[in-house]
């Protein structure tokens, strides 16, 4: 408990000031005039006068005694430590930037004195408290993929906690926000969010010898078949000599080596260069693009020589090549559906005349055009999203020689639908060809193979067919009922990875399984469908069609083409990364499956176990990683999603394939990078730190220097306080009156008035 005297608290400051001034003036007059008159008792007058003035002053001030319990509290200063991945970059001397940062934090803590130093980390979003005890640095978890100082400062400003009186930023200066182009006024505005000085401590002074892809920016969204302009910024720093850098853009594909999409030469000036590339991605969905440079020797950071970008490629319209061997009601129905679908751009070729037909007319009187088989299946094939071969015989029209190309097209991400008829499947000469390998069913290529079964039948739904989202709409419309078919192509067993959705009620395959009538399957990056009947049009024209207003046919093709094009509505599940994948750090995939309409249906559609298989896109010889998880009854509080933890992955492109429920598999391509944006530009940015400090009234420091920062003074806080008057007010007044009387008496004795 501290005790001290003070003047009464009811006096305003100006009154005290005026009283003191009057007292001083009175004393000055007293000393100046009376001390010169010694002969008339000047000493006594001065002495009593002084006492009188003091007593008057005491009567005005009425002193009090304060007994208080007080403590001195240091000013709150927040240290924002850069926790982005750029801190994992090495310094010269093999020390990491994070080690320099931690040393700087320790130094600041040591020199803080009475200042309350709170250490926060910043990266993505709001700042977060950091453990600063010895050895805590290793427990700080993964580094952030961004260094967003602005968000961290704004979060502090809006916090309900006590406001800091100063900020200290410890970083390499390579912020995402404020960016490199931020002006002084923008930095000042940033400082005004807290209105306190921001001191900065630079962890790094030297750039590593590094050539890198600094930024890849795309002009607009990626659309299949539409050229996408890419601007690639490259750089060289740290004394690395590079006048030009070759930049390549490649698409990582599951079916083979990366496909080179574009290449260019960047000319560097002042360590920076830009090259504009144009790439065309033919397949929709998540596609992995690798943008890389050929770095010169001496490059200390090879990890940032390539960037792996995930592009979600959209489609303006689905381009479908529809080839039919002859016009039939089935061909008519499919064509009308394709043409009526605004999202489909169809290119059709129908064989209207065979070698045995006699049209009885000159060629000029016919509207027939040559079937450009060579051009279609070589030059133009990649421009199509899907190819429909309907009742088409490969041999007479020269398609046989293009079947290897067509199979490669499917494995590279294209879609294939073979629709039945007298010229399809085995009868069309497709058995024992490369195309047969990408069909979801096997074809009998033996001499005694039977190509068609001409006994009328009604296809049967399989359990997989009932559960598959791609046929859910059709099932809703027709339930279990399907029209009777006049016959079917004879198909073999479903290939590994395929699924039969409809089967023949009586006919079986060689293995004894019911013969598939409608089957689907994944083939590399692409997908294929086998529909072994030519009577699907009866979903439109039949008694069943009349009862259902013909909606079943469109619903079936909506699902088939949608699934082929990986429309999320028709996938049995969906995969998404919970957060960007970073090499060496466990990631999570969120698996969703379609929400059921009823509780009963939900329990039926909810998978009990989920299997995810990861394959490297850029290293197909690497063994796949398989992860299996049980699905709890109510995962994550929702009913149709569960997170699957992945092991730490190396940097590269991956495809995750999900087998969740009875339905077909679904996949998602994604990329894992070592450094990502944070390593793209390895140069420190001391100037930005210096400018930030200058704009906000702070000071700039180097971590290697003395970190004696001028921090705010501590404040005293009173916890308990007792105020007691030294004497009652009347006593001070009486004392003043007595002193004045004594002084008056002395003056009268000396002859003064």
């Amino acid at each position: 408990m501290n005790t001290r005297l003070a003047i009464n608290g009811d006096l305003p400051a100006w009154a005290v000031f005026v009283a003191c001034a009057l007292a001083v003036a009175s004393l000055a007059v007293l000393f100046f005039y009376e001390l010169r008159r010694r002969e008339r008792g000047g000493i006594v007058i001065v002495l009593t006068g002084t006492l009188a003035v003091a007593a008057l002053l005491a009567a005005i001030a009425r002193p009090i005694r304060i007994a208080a319990r007080e403590s001195v509290i240091g000013a709150k200063v927040v240290v924002l430590a850069d926790m982005s991945r750029s801190m994992a970059l090495p310094q010269r001397g093999s020390r990491l930037r994070s080690a320099v940062r931690d040393a700087a934090l320790a130094e600041l803590a040591k020199k803080a004195g009475e200042t309350r130093l709170l250490v926060f980390g910043f990266g993505e979003g709001a700042a977060f408290a950091l453990e600063t005890k010895p050895g805590a640095a290793s427990k700080r978890g993964p580094l952030a993929g961004r260094s967003d100082l602005t968000s961290a400062l704004r979060a502090l400003a809006t916090s309900a906690e006590e406001r800091p009186q100063a900020i200290v930023v410890v970083s390499d200066g390579r912020f995402d926000d404020p960016g490199e182009e931020a002006t002084a006024s923008q930095l000042q505005a940033l400082g005004r969010t807290l209105d306190v000085p921001i001191h900065t401590v630079a962890t790094t002074s030297d750039s590593p010898a590094d050539a890198s892809v600094r930024r890849v920016s795309a002009a607009g969204a990626a659309v299949a078949h539409v050229p996408l302009p890419l601007r690639v910024e490259v750089g060289c720093a740290g004394g690395l000599a590079c006048e030009t850098l070759t930049v390549t853009a490649r698409e990582l594909r599951e079916d083979g080596p990366p496909a080179l999409l574009a290449t260019g030469l960047a000319h560097l000036k002042d360590g920076k260069g830009v090259v504009d590339l144009s790439v065309t991605l033919d397949r929709a969905g998540a596609r992995i693009l690798e943008v890389a440079i050929a770095a010169p020797s001496g490059d200390a950071l090879p990890d940032n020589d390539r960037r792996l970008m995930t592009f979600n490629v959209a489609r303006e319209r689905v381009r479908v090549l529809h080839v039919a061997g002859r016009p039939t009601s089935d061909v008519r129905a499919l064509r009308q559906w394709l043409k009526s679908n605004a999202s489909v751009d169809v290119v059709a070729f129908f064989i209207l005349r065979t070698q045995t037909d006699t049209p009885n007319a000159r060629q000029e009187d016919l509207s027939l055009i040559p079937f450009p088989v060579d051009e279609l299946f070589t030059e133009h094939l990649p421009s199509f999203d899907a190819v429909v071969l309907q009742d088409f015989d490969a041999q007479p029209y020269g398609l046989e020689r293009h079947l290897p190309q067509l199979a490669r097209y499917v494995r590279a991400g294209g879609g294939l639908i073979m629709v039945g008829g007298q010229n399809s499947f085995v009868a069309g000469g497709y058995a024992n060809t490369p195309l047969a390998e990408v069909l979801p069913v096997s074809l009998d290529g033996s001499r005694r193979a039977v190509s068609a079964e001409i006994v009328p039948f009604t296809p049967t739904w399989t359990e997989e067919g009932r559960a598959a989202p791609l046929l859910a709409k059709l099932h809703d419309i027709v339930d279990e009922e399907l029209p009777s078919m006049p016959g079917t192509n004879v198909l073999g067993d479903v290939q590994p990875g395929g699924l039969a959705l409809w089967t023949h009620p009586t006919r079986t395959t060689k293995s004894g399984a019911p013969m598939p009538v409608l089957a689907i399957g994944d083939q590399g990056d692409g997908r294929s469908i086998a529909l072994g009947i030519d009577g699907a049009w009866q979903l439109e024209f039949s008694q069943l069609g009349a009862r259902t207003s013909g909606r079943g046919y469109g619903a079936m093709w909506d699902g088939l083409l949608g699934w082929l094009m990986r429309d999320p509505r028709f996938e049995s599940g969906q995969l998404e990364l919970v957060s960007p994948c970073v090499a060496g750090i466990p990631a999570s995939l969120r698996v969703r499956w379609p929400a059921a309409k009823t509780t009963k249906a939900e329990s039926a559609s909810r998978p009990e176990r989920i299997r995810v298989e990861l394959r490297r896109l850029d290293k197909p010889d690497v063994a796949p990683v398989r992860v299996e998880v049980d699905v709890p009854a109510h995962p994550n509080g929702t009913t149709n999603a569960v997170d699957v933890a992945l092991p730490p992955l190396e940097a590269g492109g991956y495809t995750a394939r999900l087998q969740a429920v009875l339905g077909p598999t679904t996949r998602r391509d994604f990329a894992c990078e070592s450094g990502g944006d944070e390593w793209a530009d390895s140069r420190p940015d001391r100037e930005r730190l210096r400018a930030l400090a200058a704009a906000t009234g702070g000071t700039f420091h180097d971590a290697a220097d003395d970190l004696s920062i001028a921090l705010p003074k501590p404040v005293v806080v009173t916890a308990e306080r007792h105020v007691v008057p030294v004497a009652p007010a009347w006593m001070w007044t009486l004392l003043a009156a007595l002193m004045l009387s004594l002084h008056w008496f002395a003056r009268r004795r000396s002859g003064l008035a």
């Binding site: 133009h380 290529g445 009328p456 006049p486 030519d534 009866q538």
Partner: protein, 310 residues
């Protein structure tokens, strides 16, 4: 699409789907004797190769058989009211026969009949209504059946078999339009000019013709871009009708017999053009507006410029 069309137009080295002429094995009259011997040897070798090819084709697993007639063009005769059947009973089978002979499209050689009030009216996408006399008013069930048929996208050909030689519609033609107007009251027939796809689905035609030349165009009710009712005032069936045109066995067909009706005023050339129109209508039924695709445009425009021949 335009790029593809341009490319097709530009390039000459295309494998045409139209077949090369079959080699003839009769010695041409202009050949000399040694040349004739060599020609005979060539024919013999050709025959050997043909035999081997035939054997190979039999040995390969290509024993495809059509899945019946389902999906083939069926010129189904529509029966309404008390009309007993088609005005030209033999025309439907002849129509299918001509289609099969001339094109790759399959056709039913034994076409079917269906009543408008029969639920089976929706089993196929094509109906053919022809007659001479005025039609009685459609019953509500007939109207309902036809409306269902049209709602599914079906095509009805109304062929006036009683049209006069100068093209004046008969009582059937007039009454059929009135009754169809009751079925589809919200739409009216329009004229299909020679630019319509129906004149180029297989043959390039300049006008419509049947047993009579009549007006140059067809009328149609078009809904959602698709022809749903086609009105012919040319007695198309009259030009197609041929006696003894009957099915023989399973799949076989006899095309013998004589034409039942004279064609005026163009004679047999006009009949050929009428058959071509029928083939085009069948092709339109089976391939819809396929020939309207952009890829065909440059070819068809070039051929349109050539003089026509039957």
């Amino acid at each position: 699409m335009n790029r593809l069309a341009d490319s097709l137009t530009r390039r000459k080295r295309l494998v045409g789907f139209a077949p090369a002429p079959a080699p003839s094995c009769g010695p041409p009259p202009a050949l000399t004797r040694p040349k004739a011997r060599r020609f005979a040897e060539l024919c013999a070798m050709t025959a050997v190769f043909a035999g081997v090819a035939l054997f190979a084709s039999l040995a390969l697993p290509r024993s495809a058989r059509a899945f019946g007639d389902v999906g083939a063009f069926d010129p189904r005769v529509l029966i309404v009211g008390d009309v007993p059947g088609a005005a030209r009973p033999s025309a439907a089978a002849r129509w299918s026969w001509e289609l099969i002979q001339r094109t790759s499209a399959p056709g039913r050689l034994t076409p079917t009949h269906v009543r408008a009030d029969d639920p089976a009216v929706v089993d196929e996408p094509f109906l053919w209504l022809s007659g001479v006399n005025a039609l009685a008013s459609f019953t509500p069930k007939e109207i309902s059946g036809l409306r269902t048929f049209f709602s599914l996208g079906g095509l009805l050909l109304v062929d006036d078999a009683g049209v006069s030689d100068d093209g004046t519609p008969s009582a059937f033609g007039r009454s059929a339009r009135e009754q169809i107007a009751r079925v589809l009251p919200e739409t009216s027939p329009i004229t299909l000019g020679p630019e319509h796809v129906i004149y180029k689905t297989f043959y390039l035609l300049r006008r419509a013709e049947g047993r009579v030349a009549g007006q140059k165009t067809l009328d149609a009710i078009v809904r959602s871009g698709q022809v749903q009712v086609l009105f012919s005032s040319h007695d198309l069936g009259g030009a197609l009708a041929r006696n003894s045109t009957t099915a023989v066995g399973s799949g076989g067909f006899s095309g013998s017999g004589a034409w039942e009706n004279p064609v005026t005023p163009g004679g047999e050339l006009q009949r050929e053009r009428a058959i071509r129109l029928a083939v085009n209508i069948a092709m339109y039924t089976l391939s819809s507006n396929y020939k309207d695709d952009q890829v065909h445009a440059p070819f068809l425009m070039r051929r349109r410029a050539l003089p026509s021949a039957p």
